[in-house]
Symmetry: D2
Amino acid sequence: MSFNTFGHIFRVTTWGESHGPALGATVDGCPPGVALDESVIQPWLDRRKPGQSRYTTQRREADTVEILSGVYEGRTTGTPIQLMIRNTDQRSKDYSDIEATFRPGHADITYFQKYGLRDPRGGGRSSARETAARVAAGGVARAVLGDLVPGLEVQGYMVQMGPHGIDRARFDAAQIDRNPFWVPDAQAATDWAEYLDSLRKSGNSVGAVIEVVARNVPPGLGAPIYAKLDTDLAAAMMSINAVKGVEIGEGMGAAALTGVENADEIRMGAQGPVYGSNHAGGILGGISTGQEVVVRFAVKPTSSILMPRGSITRSGEATEVVTKGRHDPCVGIRAVPVGEAMMACVLLDHLLLHRAQCGAGPRGHIG
Amino acid sequence: MSFNTFGHIFRVTTWGESHGPALGATVDGCPPGVALDESVIQPWLDRRKPGQSRYTTQRREADTVEILSGVYEGRTTGTPIQLMIRNTDQRSKDYSDIEATFRPGHADITYFQKYGLRDPRGGGRSSARETAARVAAGGVARAVLGDLVPGLEVQGYMVQMGPHGIDRARFDAAQIDRNPFWVPDAQAATDWAEYLDSLRKSGNSVGAVIEVVARNVPPGLGAPIYAKLDTDLAAAMMSINAVKGVEIGEGMGAAALTGVENADEIRMGAQGPVYGSNHAGGILGGISTGQEVVVRFAVKPTSSILMPRGSITRSGEATEVVTKGRHDPCVGIRAVPVGEAMMACVLLDHLLLHRAQCGAGPRGHIG
Amino acid sequence: MSFNTFGHIFRVTTWGESHGPALGATVDGCPPGVALDESVIQPWLDRRKPGQSRYTTQRREADTVEILSGVYEGRTTGTPIQLMIRNTDQRSKDYSDIEATFRPGHADITYFQKYGLRDPRGGGRSSARETAARVAAGGVARAVLGDLVPGLEVQGYMVQMGPHGIDRARFDAAQIDRNPFWVPDAQAATDWAEYLDSLRKSGNSVGAVIEVVARNVPPGLGAPIYAKLDTDLAAAMMSINAVKGVEIGEGMGAAALTGVENADEIRMGAQGPVYGSNHAGGILGGISTGQEVVVRFAVKPTSSILMPRGSITRSGEATEVVTKGRHDPCVGIRAVPVGEAMMACVLLDHLLLHRAQCGAGPRGHIG
Amino acid sequence: MSFNTFGHIFRVTTWGESHGPALGATVDGCPPGVALDESVIQPWLDRRKPGQSRYTTQRREADTVEILSGVYEGRTTGTPIQLMIRNTDQRSKDYSDIEATFRPGHADITYFQKYGLRDPRGGGRSSARETAARVAAGGVARAVLGDLVPGLEVQGYMVQMGPHGIDRARFDAAQIDRNPFWVPDAQAATDWAEYLDSLRKSGNSVGAVIEVVARNVPPGLGAPIYAKLDTDLAAAMMSINAVKGVEIGEGMGAAALTGVENADEIRMGAQGPVYGSNHAGGILGGISTGQEVVVRFAVKPTSSILMPRGSITRSGEATEVVTKGRHDPCVGIRAVPVGEAMMACVLLDHLLLHRAQCGAGPRGHIG
């Protein structure tokens, strides 16, 4: 509803710029009594942290989260949780030349047009650093989900880098944590390393597609129209920097299917309905079916590249822009934990909304 | 914020079911003094109306809009505008057999699981009829936009039906209103007619991709993070029934591009910055650039088909489902005016948000 | 969040003007499965209906509610409920002279200054007729509360008319429905009838204080800061036309008390904590205690009077205004059912919010 | 909409507890380009700071505000402003005995019933320390208002302490800053000092009434029904700790007036309409008239007193509670700057809302 808040009931407001003293997330509406301290959140931030391989920016940030409120003696109190992450490697330098030009493909021109000024230090609010705050909030959401829905899991991985997709036949979830790309395909990990090394050396960058899956989501989360579970997932993913497309289940590919192909057949299983396929991505009519919830999103290549591109200055003169300094050759890599965090926040929000309107658990029993 | 409302300031709440007495939209936050009566809205509804060709459902609805409030002597008063459309062809019949089974790919199973009951008459709230209310609200948004931003245009068209995409080289906007598919390619119109006839006769259905473009959008609409213009467009399109994917500009294809390819170069034009390309779809960092805003979304094939699919009954017994009666072989056709309506509503909402935070017009001057 | 909506989860948006074709309320977020039809709502509207005694406007409105959506076979479906009430006695007449002047104490001058126009027919949106929509929505809230919290009761009554307060020593709830003023004091009913007759004949009007009490409210409803139960009650009551003050428990009188006097002592009862007094009005720190929730609000005298008052025309010329036609000598009378409706809506909203954040029932057990 | 947020567009979310490491406010939706740094906000915090006289708690807090985001080179950027205030005098001690009992008139019992736990350190979230965050946010709102509406002023003062009201005939605004009670009546200041000394020594406390006035508010702010300016003011004031009543203009006293007395007569002045009186408190139909906006609220006496009151323990046993340590004999004193801050935030929010819906300035011209 507001400019920097998402969520209906479990509401997260992120704040902070790339090069200010700190950034963070104000988390409101968290259920009380959930075990929480920094150690529960920090591991998720560590996954997103830059500088862990040669494929992400060499900026060195500890990304240490501090809980400033909302927790007493290791339990959430039900009041707002303030999560703060200090910026420690913001490197003071002269931004005057950057301030006078606009990078093609970057938000600095639109920020200037909208606000009449911008914070040029590392991109200010448009920096990928903002996503650290999302990951911290996602850590809170995961802690609560773990409490409310035992077995619920959220996992993200990369399924495409530049033009190179994974081979679904080789899908191996065990590989995800074993390579710098979070790719579930050992062969792709090797191939992509070579590809990205070459791009990185040339000063170029490339896009990616991330898939995030949630398992053991109870049926019944979501709502028919504007608070559809897929509506909120689409908004959550599209709100991440550099995302240009979002898909649920078959996604854009659903257009090419016929009704016969697309209809996931249903049969009765031991614990309820079982589906023969999951073209729907676990959501029908905006409401979860109990199948895996499957979301994909495309991240464009970062506009901060070492190769020159034509642009203009604030006074309208032609210029060429080359972005020196640290950058991510494939910013999609760090988007994997961010996508997971958004999925966790949206699922928790809808779990709470469902409790509000319908009480605990699904209401209609089948079988 | 709510289950059936979208928009931050220009807020639209739709209500009503497929087979109830009426449906409509409550439009709140509309600027005052804008010329408005039914004749301004009706033409947009007429475009969406079913039964205009053999390619849409044969249900006959006049879709006549009535303005019940918020307008005095032909001008909006600034108070809520109630738009009501009566259902006139809802055909009373016995729904008891439908009520006991679940259609594969349809929301009736999740509605039942969530709410413990459902309105089986024509799909109830999940029916595509709900989109009539959106188109009516979009008519109000267009009237206000016309007042506030002369020259702003919103146009939708179909770019893919099933596996068949248009040939962009043949793109001819003049064709859009000349065929039942709103396709800007005369050859595709002919080919698709043949394809869809064949599908329709077999009782099958098919998906589609719609593109919606807005021209002469001022730069500066949107906001950095969770009220990004693309976030709200993604949510708006994903909230339409049967939509499974949303793209801005290059969309999912952005993943395959390098930074050099993706960066839209900028030069100075007579009235401001001019871009050499529009991979960004008119939005950078969540804020409009002044280029065309380009959104695409995929509509899955309707699940109401005449070919049998395996399913279960409420008591868990195996069954086969065939959906008799009127249906849309390509429900994506009617989604074209709906996508336009959502675009108009989102743009107006962001125009008002921009006025609120930044005053009139863009603030940063280039050149 | 919006201009014409109240509630966080149980959200009511009212629409319509005094002299348009209809007015109503869009109720979103209602729990599913609750028994509801027009007969459940109509009795509450009948209580508020004008023209039932010589002390309310002689406008004749049936105030018949129609449910247009959200109910199937006598049960709420969980989707938006549209409640429509047709205006049947709006009397067409020439409003040109009214349109050019401003009534002292009336919203017509501020509507004009804000919007540049106004709907002069019966006051348009500022008319007390808008409250019919609130009462209808309150009828839905009561039906749901009855389902979720057996024994919860909401009752309003008048405790002051003009300078004449009731004698609390004579308080007799059985009297409330036996006089046209909803006053729980038989003697006051007699005295006030005489007083109001005299005022009415002179063409004057008078203010009133209404008290609304809710019994058997479970402890734990509300939240610490900006969604405090008393915050939302204050907003709900102050949003009613003509209300100028709101009190919880001791209200403004709390200022005169010392801490010793004000602290409601606690002892242990059979079913939980019992309080020796209720200065707090059933709310501590924004959260219900389980005692009676007590709210009072003051309604100013209607500005539509037959006695002349100095004013100006739209062109700034001095004039005298006398409001001819039907009016309420004490509009506070009809505010009694409206206050009850607002209390019911706020309590239900907070009950749902509590379920969302904390699950069912109070969490901390005492004893 | 959320638990700890207020405002529609200028949105303030406060966070933090009395004895945690810090507390603060996340301010979202602030217009860009406004001059702002800590020195602009700090003076307002200094006014509210405890320990400035013997009549407020002896807790020593510097209440130094730090701006962590949203400001670049001394100007707001339009992105979220994080305001942090460290707690420096939170005194570690053993809370085990407090944790097991409930103070009569205090939120600790309802927090426990709602959440199943509470933060007993200084009252946790229910502490008056939370209001420091409001004052900081109010400082931002004042800076923006100063930029947008030159001449707009907000001023609060105390008009009643315990049973002792001021004499309006002696009203002297110049006195407000010259005494520890912010009272505009030199005689009252002397009398109250004596009264409060006596109360303080006996370990008792007392309530107060605060009046807040805004001058040079443009006409046209507000909206007809649920976003009425008075609705939002009522909510804002009632959300302050310990407030039990809110009045606009005549407030509860409006009930005693007749329509003739209450109707503020209008005549034409040099710059627009001029009113002969201000019973309305500057608001008609929810919209500002251009007169002074006048709000009053009652603060109950703090429940933390040295005199014993009967209560129970968590296990339900009878006990007596005496609250040792630092406390405010009249917490209403510190509520004066808080009421001003809330007024500033609400006015700015409505100014932005008005710009959104109606553009700049009032639309209807009189004269």
